[in-house]
């Protein structure tokens, strides 16, 4: 694997038209690899939070963080790979199943603390939440029965403990005062 590894970066960004385009354009232009990207509203109105999982060595990730910072609509960036962080992904998996395999699939789903959210004559939809490795393992296992379709959200992440302060500051007037 050399020094290439996955890094988790979170960013607080203005919720405006074109911001995602600006960010993805920067990644494409500089040749950085996004392995997953998740976006959603944050706790503050008008601001979104993004979680990127980026492939690359430490230097690449440092440049990703710096170039994200440079974008005017990006307010905060943090590389939380080294931190004690919670990271989760949700996946929906459509699996082939029949009377013979249904109970075995249900057992596996149970072990992964996943859920069956839809059943049809010959398929099941499984919903699973966990880190990327857990989702990968479940998909691999279910593949022995035949996976028709996988839909994943990409990782969202939040560092434990101290991050609460950081999140609060996003909401406080302090961050707006910083606008020179």
């Amino acid at each position: 694997m050399k020094s290439s590894e996955k890094h988790t970066i979170t960013a607080l960004v203005e919720d405006r038209a074109g911001v995602l385009n600006r960010i993805s354009s920067m990644f494409r232009r500089r040749g950085y690899n996004i392995s997953s990207l998740a976006v959603g509203k944050s706790e503050s109105a008008g601001l979104s939070r993004m979680t990127f999982v980026v492939d690359g060595d430490a230097k690449t990730v440092e440049m990703v963080v710096k170039n994200l910072h440079k974008l005017v609509e990006v307010i905060k960036v943090a590389d939380i790979s080294e931190e004690n962080a919670v990271s989760r992904e949700l996946a929906l998996i459509r699996v082939k199943c029949d009377v013979a395999t249904r109970s075995e699939i249900m057992q596996i789903v149970d072990i992964f603390r996943a859920k069956i959210v839809d059943v049809s004559q010959d398929t099941l939809i499984v919903e699973v939440t966990g880190n990327e490795d857990k989702v990968n393992s479940l998909v691999d296992l279910l593949d022995t029965f035949g996976v028709f379709e996988v839909m994943r959200t990409g990782t969202v992440a939040m560092s434990r403990g101290a991050s609460f302060e950081q999140d609060k500051s996003a909401n406080s007037p302090r961050i707006l005062e910083n606008a020179s």
């Binding site: 232009r29 230097k59 005017v72 990006v74």
Partner: protein, 564 residues
């Protein structure tokens, strides 16, 4: 007070100190143009091509240090600006571009002359805006100027739909800036500044590489103080040229692909590189993994994303060069480096890269040297890109700061005509010489009409070798002289062409006529085009092939013995 969007644009530009706009009207931006007569404080210069408008704004901005402003209409008007915008982005030049857009309700419908210009310019602007409501115009333009000209400067584009120009709204002065994600750091970290000063104090063979950042932050005095206090030789980058007087004993040229050999060797032998407002471009480093391996490096730049991008550095300092130097200088102790300076003298003697061979032929280099002598190093020199650009940088001896305008990062041919025009508008009393190639000149020569119309006394020296000279040189050296598509056999008669625009034209075919022609051009009140028919196959030396090291340098072959 109720105002139209178009009036708010003009009011906002005036408030930001803008008084010159380069541009061309068209359908979508027409309402803005129709408001201009109400604002005589905004001088509009009608260019002949939108690329001319963005490049002229670039030249204007480099000379004044204020954002250059350009207007264009939607669609092709806006896309024609793009080369100028990209040029400004690469060289950190502040521009504020206002483009007209199709009516807001037709955006996305492929309406006539619609193009997604904010999308197109996204990777080549520092930031851009699409303003969908006239009440947002004032704040957007205020933010545009602030972003364009703070931190590392760059172009900002403001796209405004036609209906928003005519929309009437209650006009209020813009309030405080609301840019929570934008706060460039100017000051520099005190601990790092101290560390850098310590490295300088310990160094026996220090060298400064001064880049465009020194000019942008006007850190001329601080640079001089540092250099003189600790007797440190000063090398500039191509865009740093003129930030340090070239008749100063510590001036040590400029390095890299076509820079002076001794400058490149000085960097290789130094034990400390002090990089100021520069970005270790590949034209300087060659192979970055083999660049200046004997030295520690201090890197001062206002853009954190430049630190560690190309070259690993020992002491990075994020901050404005002027601010950081003024603080760092107090920690630097006076020193002399006699043996190091002596060593550089030896390098200079061993690698005499700036000799002009004695010949009866008309060499392009000789023309630059003569312009340098005739203007006493005090003119503003604007170049295009290629051989003539390198000769201008090598053989003009700049004595005044901020007098060399060239497209460094982007390498935009044709820069020499509109940018010279912008430079002359910026400083009407200055002597502006555009040193042009016959290739680049033909890319933007339509602006001769603008120059004639506005009576701008720009002097053009076309170093006419009938070739895309630099490309031909690469073909000679790397492709066995196979000159594919580089000969310009259909060049116009540039003298008659100039005359067709009502501009004085002079042709020089012989070495002996050069000085008289330059003097004649300078004596003439208005613009002049001097067509110097120079040697066709003269090469630029030295040359470090792309991606190689200083030790792979090709120096000029021993000059041929020719009697005059």
């Amino acid at each position: 007070m109720i105002k139209k969007g178009s009036q708010i644009v003009c009011e906002s530009l005036l408030r930001e100190g803008c008084n010159v706009v380069f541009g061309i009207p068209g359908g979508a931006i027409l309402p803005l143009y129709q408001a201009l007569p109400e604002y005589p404080g905004l001088r509009h210069i009608l260019t002949r091509h939108e690329q001319g408008a963005s490049l002229a704004a670039d030249g204007y901005a480099r000379v004044t240090g204020k954002p250059g402003v350009a207007f264009a209409t939607s669609g092709p008007g806006a896309t024609n600006l793009v080369t100028g915008i990209a040029t400004a982005q690469m060289d950190s030049v502040p521009l504020v571009i206002v483009t007209g857009q199709v009516n807001s309700w037709t955006i996305g419908s492929d309406a006539f002359q619609e193009t997604d210009i904010t999308g197109i310019t996204l990777p080549v602007t520092k930031h851009n805006f699409l303003v969908m409501d006239a009440s947002d115009i004032a704040s957007s333009i205020k933010e545009a100027f602030h972003i364009a000209n703070t931190g590392r400067p760059g172009p900002v584009l403001v796209d405004i739909p036609r209906d928003v120009f005519v929309q009437e709204v209650e006009y209020e002065e813009p309030g405080e800036l609301n840019l929570p994600g934008y706060s460039p750091n100017f000051s520099g970290h005190s601990g790092q500044i101290r560390k850098a000063a310590n490295l300088i104090n310990e160094s026996e063979k220090p060298v400064i590489i001064a880049g465009h950042g020194v000019i942008i932050s006007k850190a001329y005095d601080e640079l001089k103080e540092l250099a003189e206090k600790a007797q440190i030789p000063v090398i500039t980058t191509l865009l740093g040229i003129s930030c340090f007087p070239e008749d100063h004993v510590l001036w040590t040229g400029w390095p890299g692909m076509h820079g002076m050999a001794y400058s490149s060797f000085t960097i290789e032998e130094a034990d400390l590189v002090i990089a100021l407002g520069m970005r270790f471009d590949d034209r300087i480093t060659g192979n970055p993994s083999k660049f200046a391996l004997n030295s520690k490096k201090i890197h001062i730049d206002v853009d954190p994303s430049e630190i560690g991008k190309n070259i690993a550095v020992d002491v990075p300092i994020v901050g404005d060069v002027k601010e950081v130097l003024s603080r760092m200088n107090t920690h630097v102790v006076a020193a002399t480096h006699p043996s190091w300076l002596k060593r550089i003298d030896v390098l200079k003697k061993d690698h005499p890269s700036l000799n002009i061979p004695e010949t009866s032929k008309l060499l392009a280099r000789q023309v630059v040297k003569d312009i340098s002598d005739e203007t006493k190093g005090g003119a503003t020199i604007v170049t295009g890109v290629g051989q003539h650009q390198m000769w201008a940088a090598q053989h003009y001896r700049f004595k005044k700061p901020c007098t060399f305008l060239t497209s460094g990062g982007s390498g935009t041919m044709g820069y020499e005509v509109p940018a010279a025009m912008g430079a002359q508008v910026a400083d009407p009393d200055s002597t502006v010489w555009s040193i042009a190639g016959d290739g680049g000149f033909q890319m933007t020569l339509c602006e001769l009409a603008t120059i004639a119309e506005n009576k701008l006394p720009v002097k053009f020296a076309i170093l006419n070798n009938g070739f895309l000279g630099m490309v031909r040189q690469w073909q000679e050296i790397f492709f066995d002289s196979s000159y594919v598509s580089t000969a310009y056999t259909g060049n116009p008669d540039f003298v008659r062409l100039a005359e067709a625009y009502g501009i004085k034209g002079i042709r020089v075919t012989d070495k002996t006529q050069v000085k008289t022609a330059i003097a004649e051009a300078m004596d003439h009140d208005g613009p002049v085009v001097v067509d110097f028919i120079v040697e066709q196959e003269e090469n630029v030396y030295p040359m470090i092939p792309s991606g190689m090291t200083v030790y792979d340098m090709i120096e000029e072959p021993v000059p041929e013995k020719v009697t005059t």
